[in-house]
Symmetry: C3
Subunit: 162 residues, 3 copies
């Protein structure tokens, strides 16, 4: 039998701005209520932990292609609907501001400041053409694999795949 | 330590017809087996709780644009694949009927009649350009934020993000 | 009150190669750590349990159309981003190989060999134009509906919708 703590563990797989916002908002809400919160970033979700510019040294051709396709990190993330070649995220950004909602950048910083644990998936970093030099040290708490995720999630009262 | 009840709590973030159907079918199945079921509608998922026509009074320009882009509610929801400018949902609708499966509209009404609790996320309603006047009173049980979601989900044996 | 076991139960709804890989990697990781793992395949996820060629006998016109649109099973699955008319999956396949990561086909076979339980959702098979003759017997452990899913998920320490 497993014992559960008041804790939310989220896998952030998606690269879309609105889905990342949902992950941040749930995590910030959890911390506000005294719960633990961990986000495990994998596949396209890794873009949210990246620096703006891709680090291209010591990478093979394909890793460079992937790094450039995905460039921009948090600032270039599309919307999951009505993206309209980048107009959608701008529009949603303005509406969020009008509603006094945190922007994506602010949401990540706030989550971090409130103690949301952010783990970058080492297995998929290579597949996405990313090395530790691409990642923002001020955001990443830990580089780890699926075993760490399972350990965290097993004890969590809420598990989500976003 | 957290105690868990036989209960499913779903966040419906997506605006696609097939994903909403999955949320309804899981919730209806849970109620049939005597479990509790709650769906928390946020971002594009809020479209499934809307009236067909957008309510445009007392809205600023951007809120109107968002409300009109998203118009149609349950009836205009696209498929997550093979949408083909709206032909996909029609096709799937016919196949569902041939299989005696509930249509999206019927699935929502059945879920409601069977006691599935439906909560509209107040934080994202503003961002999507929605006010309570846009929402179908016969479907929404409660307007609430992330704290309510976390309270429900902490006690739930099954938590999903759709 | 519900008792939880160390077990992950995943609904695989999506038809994308990268999401299916995530489902396999989490399940394989769980089995490696001695946990139970079940994947419940529904809607587009059913494509991953299919034979390459659609079985067209005894099907009506619409079922044939759906079966042909979805043809190819594991081998034709698109990426959730940067699909580029099929170039994306090839590219990711090469990067996965360079990182000694299992291919999608290997991931499914490995998951199966390690005892990941694979259940095909009977309710949605009809809607997707699929019969048991379309499915690969070597992968499917069970044909079942939402009640079976709920039974498995209620006891699971980790529940995910992918």
């Amino acid at each position: 039998m497993v014992e559960k703590e008041k804790k939310v563990t989220i896998i952030l797989f998606s690269g879309e701005m609105d889905r990342a916002l949902a992950a941040c908002n749930i995590s910030i809400g959890a911390r506000t209520m005294g719960m633990d919160a961990t986000i495990f970033f994998t596949f396209w979700g890794l873009n949210f932990l990246r620096k703006d510019k891709p680090y291209l040294k010591n990478k093979n051709l394909l890793q460079r292609v992937m790094a450039i396709l995905n460039r921009g990190g948090r600032k270039k993330a599309p919307l999951s609907r009505f993206n309209f070649l980048g107009v959608g995220p701008e529009l949603m950004g303005i509406m969020m501001k009008n509603q006094n909602m945190l922007s994506l950048e602010e949401a990540f910083r706030t989550a971090k400041d409130m103690g949301v644990k952010m783990i970058a998936c080492t297995i998929t970093m290579g597949v996405m053409g990313l090395s530790e030099k691409d990642m923002e040290e001020s955001l990443v708490d830990e580089y780890a694999g699926v075993a760490t995720y399972l350990y965290e999630a097993n004890r969590s009262s809420i598990t989500l795949f976003i």
